[in-house]
Symmetry: C4
Subunit: 323 residues, 4 copies
């Protein structure tokens, strides 16, 4: 495994990490969850990503049980939670968002579900227009001082919002955000590559990126449509189709078909190639993998070798597809 | 239910909330208290107001028992306490006021009586001329950092006193006050509408207002005097009569009679109309309702519909009565 | 009882308070200690003064047991400790002084002996030339933030040393000292009246003064020498004789004899008069009384009436004796 | 025993102290460890030095057991730990270094192994190029505020790195480093005497020095080579030979032989002389002794007398050998 610093912080995360989104607590049975975490850990993954909103808190519960069951050493792994969407099925007004109350309540709930004394990483899962950024930064700072959170950050915030959080922290001598968790893949790269660019240099921002396969699109499995049973084929994931494909869906799908063909030509799995591509960006601290089967996870882990095995000419071809 | 932010904070309170003053621990039996809290909660009320001084701490005790008994989710409701008057029948010099000692002792006592780990809102129930504001702000800041209080504020402080608390907090990098709890009703509106005006814009102050019915006066039930058995007819509430009616009592009572007539004309209960009027002020975060019977509470909740149902002409007529 | 603010702080102490020095844990049996605290409390005394160095910690232990036994309400009384001399018979280098280590260890030990969760007042019992004042201020600030101490102060520090502590606190945004515990009586008044004068006005310093009877001298009982069995007659108190009488011992003793005669003339006990005299100074927050018998304590409490009963002419005569 | 302040701090350490490096948890049996700590304590040593990295945490475990077993008074002794190398045999990326995570995890682990509530001294065992100094200072500050650490410092940092830590602390109002733990002996003195010089005067830095005998070299026992069974003769200590002797090993060894001869001439043990020499430097707060036998420890303690017994002429001769 390759380990990278979380931005300029001293925390070293495995360059590939494991996320519980849309699998733990819903698609995947507890035994399978245990196998996945065990395989991840055995292969050097030390960061397990989670959120209060994943399967209404059940993803954290399953992960907490599995980690306790596997007796992973607390100082050897990192676990995250994220606050914003709430864990209740129909969250009350105080049960979501980034108010001091919810940030605090959600942290305590996550600690309990994950069965740990502290969260290594705690994210604001989205910006909250109804809460001043200063209130959230103060709430996070208090959790850090109480020892309940080590590093806090954001997910899908704009560079300007992150900058404001950094400014508040500097002005009031508080712990500022250390990392962002953005979407990042061949189809969705602007924010990570352009918008956040000043934050890497000036604030040492780290990133833990999600959706390296664009919700599975880059595996090529949707090249001929969205079959029932696949993630994007799920009824309640229709919104995701729209997000992934966007306005120029047809053109994008065409690119993906050319990309898949190129991968075959290069003799590599399109998924592995897509993950390896993410790793090439030095501002990516860790690429979060989602997987519902161990074999899938192990295949994805081959991206670590691929990133060095492929030559620059090949990478140039990949870039050309999405130019 | 309608939810509003507490000033510019991220905390969302129900626009109508429930207070325990002069009912819990005294007038109202425990079973009845349980029914009231249950009805409030079932109707979307998420803020339960209390104080150490209400029935010498018994109001908090009853509310704590009832909330525990109803198993309300801790992250779904907000509970407050207030410090100043003490909970002892004959408080010793250290058992009241806003000294660091009493602010701290009273918080711990309220947490115990209310059976919670933290207070969502903690108010300085009155200004204390015998304690420097800075001492109180420091004491509140420490409670916030210890996780025992989320938001602290004041009740019946002058704008200048609130401003001083805000200044101390800014100067020393402490958590400043978030909200005020003032009296606010058709007969008593100057402070909320004029005196505090600069604090809404500049400091984002929220308000949780009490006495929307002017101690029952605006129901019209005192139009012909103060009957025995009514709140203002209670012997130990004589002081309240004076406060409510003031120097120009006769003229005020005349206004109330005209107001009651207007309500009848509009086909609405005077009480509901008076509460709806409070809600029209966007600087009011939550109107605290006192009720000793469930039916009374449910009637008061109709103010939520009334505030949108009534047209501007009707509201103009209401204003004209008290012009 | 008369209550006074501790300087400009919000803490209200009884103007006469009760100290455990040279009595608890040594001269006085536990039953007698219980009677003394009970009598003090019944007469409105709310401040019980102690120190780690009094009878090597036994004074705190006895007081803690007695207070627990009497079930005094924690928010109704104030208890102090002082750190510097250590509680060990032969203190090791880390078991005395004002290092961060000893200030912290001594606080924890005092909390345990006094059987309380926090100290209302915690004093630096002497200045410590071997510890930077900043280190002590930081250590005190941390204890205040942890909720283990409410107000901290000094005892027998020079005005300049107190000023430095205040400066450090202001510069680093820390909790500064609130009070001093100096000796103050008719024979020893310069420091309280002159040296500390600027600190009352500018920093709101409070004072809890000890030795109002100049170690018994002002009772007149040593007018004819130091009898065996009296405090100043104790072998191990020889050093105190020197301190009390000083270089011009003979002249002082002569003043005391004239003072005693004047008291008799005015029809009051010399001790009561001496205590009442201390109370006349508005910068004295509380006069700490030492007593080994209940009757003695009750007599001393009469100073509260005496201070208002005596006219200015009489006070003028008292002053003239010591001019 | 002689006691010295740790730099300008108020903490008084025995000028000779006892370290567990390369003995506890490995060379030395538990009974022997108990005898060594007991002998050290009985002779006035109050500082016991340790690190997570000594024998993979076993050194701390043994010391914790022994201290508990001997019932040493917690306010009478000081115990240290150091963070950097990790305690795992093959530390994972998050199990070593100075990240906020490892600094925090390692503190908790050391508290548990040493069976204490707080560490008196906590060192950054080496600089960590992969962690910003500010992150480490913040992590240490939080541990100090939580009461888990009293004084923190560094070991083998450059003056510039220490200066940066001091600057960060001043700028952000945090607890800065109090002491350094450098190597210091007749063969290795530049850093302590020159590089750190400005830090003593300007920042009051204290030093607890290790290796007074240059890993045994100054005892003269390696004058004729490195015998099997001796520390520098151990296979896994080959790296230490290189460090101790360095590039000009032959010349150094020659100096040592002349030094040994001089000691014999002066009638003192070379080891005792070397330790006494360290004590002559007033910027050395405490010289840490390593010993695997009680007799060896007792002999080393004679350095306390030697340092005053020897005249300046003799010390001049010692200096001349290493000129």
């Amino acid at each position: 495994m390759l380990y990278r610093r979380l931005g300029t912080s001293g925390l070293k995360l495995s360059a590939l990490s494991f996320g519980a989104w849309v699998t733990f607590g819903s698609q995947v049975a507890r035994d399978q969850a245990r196998n996945l975490v065990a395989a991840a850990w055995d292969n050097g993954i030390n960061f397990f990503d989670n959120a209060e909103g994943y399967a209404n808190g059940r993803a954290e519960q399953v992960m907490g049980d599995v980690i306790a069951d596997l007796r992973l050493p607390r100082d050897g792994f990192c676990v995250s939670s994220k606050v914003f969407f709430g864990s209740a099925v129909d969250p009350a007004p105080t049960q979501r968002g980034l108010s001091r109350k919810h940030v605090t309540d959600a942290c305590h709930a996550a600690l309990k579900r994950l069965r740990v004394d502290y969260l290594d990483l705690y994210y604001c899962h989205r910006p909250d227009a109804d809460t001043p950024i200063a209130e959230t930064v103060h709430a996070m700072d208090i959790l850090v001082r109480q020892g309940k959170v080590l590093y806090w950050g954001t997910s899908e915030w704009s560079a300007m919002q992150i900058q404001e959080a950094l400014d508040v922290a500097r002005r009031h001598n508080l712990q500022g955000p250390t990392m962002e968790q953005p979407q990042y893949n061949l189809l969705h790269r602007d924010r990570v590559e352009r918008e956040y660019a000043p934050l890497y240099a000036e604030a040492g921002l780290g990133t833990t990126t999600f959706s390296p396969l664009a919700s599975g699109l880059l595996t090529g499995k949707y090249n001929d449509g969205f079959p029932a049973g696949s993630r994007l084929g799920l009824d309640d994931m229709a919104w995701l189709q729209d997000i992934v494909l966007g306005a120029d869906g047809a053109a994008r799908l065409q690119q993906v078909r050319r990309y898949t063909a190129l991968a075959t030509e290069l003799g590599v799995a399109p998924a592995t190639l897509a993950i390896a591509w993410c790793l090439r960006n030095p501002n990516v601290s860790s690429v979060i993998l989602g997987a519902s089967r161990v074999e899938q996870l192990l295949q994805n882990l081959q991206a670590l070798e691929l990133v060095v095995a492929l030559d620059e000419a090949a990478w140039g071809q990949v870039e050309a597809v999405f130019a």
